[in-house]
Symmetry: D2
Subunit: 131 residues, 4 copies
């Protein structure tokens, strides 16, 4: 099960003085990929948060293969690694306009209960959407 | 009435491929200056927000004189331009480790009421602190 | 003379704890608008920089009318205020998916000579493109 | 072999609408920790870059234990995991003002040759400093 984002253009403000996209931005690219996917599924993340459900990242890993430069465009492919239970485990691949693999990554998201702010099971309507 | 921040060190992630600190970061430096000042005055901005009072920036202006580079350190001097009423008007000067003027700026902040999310007068306890 | 960007989606990472897009991000939105325009004109900003021409922002002003929220989309309209000489003067309007005016702004860009790093006249090929 | 940074204060602009520090900022905190360490050792990273040596992050991993909030302060402890060879491997711990463990992480940095932009061995003067 996976989703590939629309094409994203590197922003000037995302570069650093090495001329590369700063390595912290990849976590933002991963985030926009999973939220674009969730949105395409018809889940309103904004509403989910208004209901008090928080979905923080609890674990992340990135392997940087090639830099992205200003002017580059790219797409992120996000894959759900296993059926959602207490966490949502996503894998990511970023590929640039020349079909070069820029980086791969992984994030694990937890669900926090509106009341207790403690970890809770993935809400049923999210599980359904991913099935 | 003014306040000068502790010395701040430019972060690598704040540079862009021109090797300059990206111009959007100066608004973050202004913000840290006014919040450091407010905190030194004994006002808890975090508490104020928990009480529902929001203080968004409604107007900003910046004049960039010289770039900041990675490795530079700087201080921000923030001045309250006039007694607080419906807005808080601050002016800023950023000076680097060689006493060079890096930039000057201005921001205007409004107070939004917890209930209506409409502009409200500056809360009395804030006015008192600035007097 | 003006240009309206493709639709941009607010990123989660651009919000702050007020739930608004952090006010420093608007300078990044302005930047992506003028660079998208320049790119659409057939000017390669990346090449220009490789030729050593730098185009830093020397002045900026923003008026914030309404906040942008996560989940919003928007477009930036950028207008060249006067024929380019020693500076490029742009005005901006950001409008959200409901045609509400989010903010207006202004930036002035200078051209720095590759050799002297001192201000220089706008290169002829840029002037031509804007005519 | 390790180093603990000066106390860092969370910036308002680093929060997101969950009220937590956005998870991408931890990579910036790790970076400022290793660069502060390198600077304390007497290595000028800025000079190293002017000599053409680049030190990109090629691998990163983070485990988020507790959120950081606006108003929090923290310190980063960075440890060199093994003698530098073709990579510099650092581990990180972030601890807040209440001595709570906020997150742990790892980054691997490579050295790129000024001429070939290909991986090279860690320069001798860096190895010496770390011994």
């Amino acid at each position: 099960m996976n989703y590939t984002t629309k094409t994203v253009t590197v922003r000037y403000s995302e570069t650093d003085q090495m001329r590369f996209v700063h390595h912290s931005n990849y976590l933002k690219y991963f985030e926009l990929a999973r939220l674009e996917w969730i949105s395409e599924m018809g889940i309103s993340y904004a509403e989910m948060e208004r209901d008090g459900i928080l979905m923080p990242v609890v674990r992340a890993a990135i392997e940087y293969k090639l830099p992205l430069y200003f002017g580059d465009t790219f797409q992120v492919t996000v894959t759900l690694k296993q059926p959602p239970k207490v966490t949502l485990d996503f894998e990511y691949l970023i590929v640039n306009q020349n079909d070069e693999l820029i980086c791969s990554g992984f994030t694990q998201l937890a669900f926090l209960s509106p009341k207790t702010k403690r970890p809770m099971r993935c809400p049923d309507f999210v599980i359904e959407k991913f099935n």
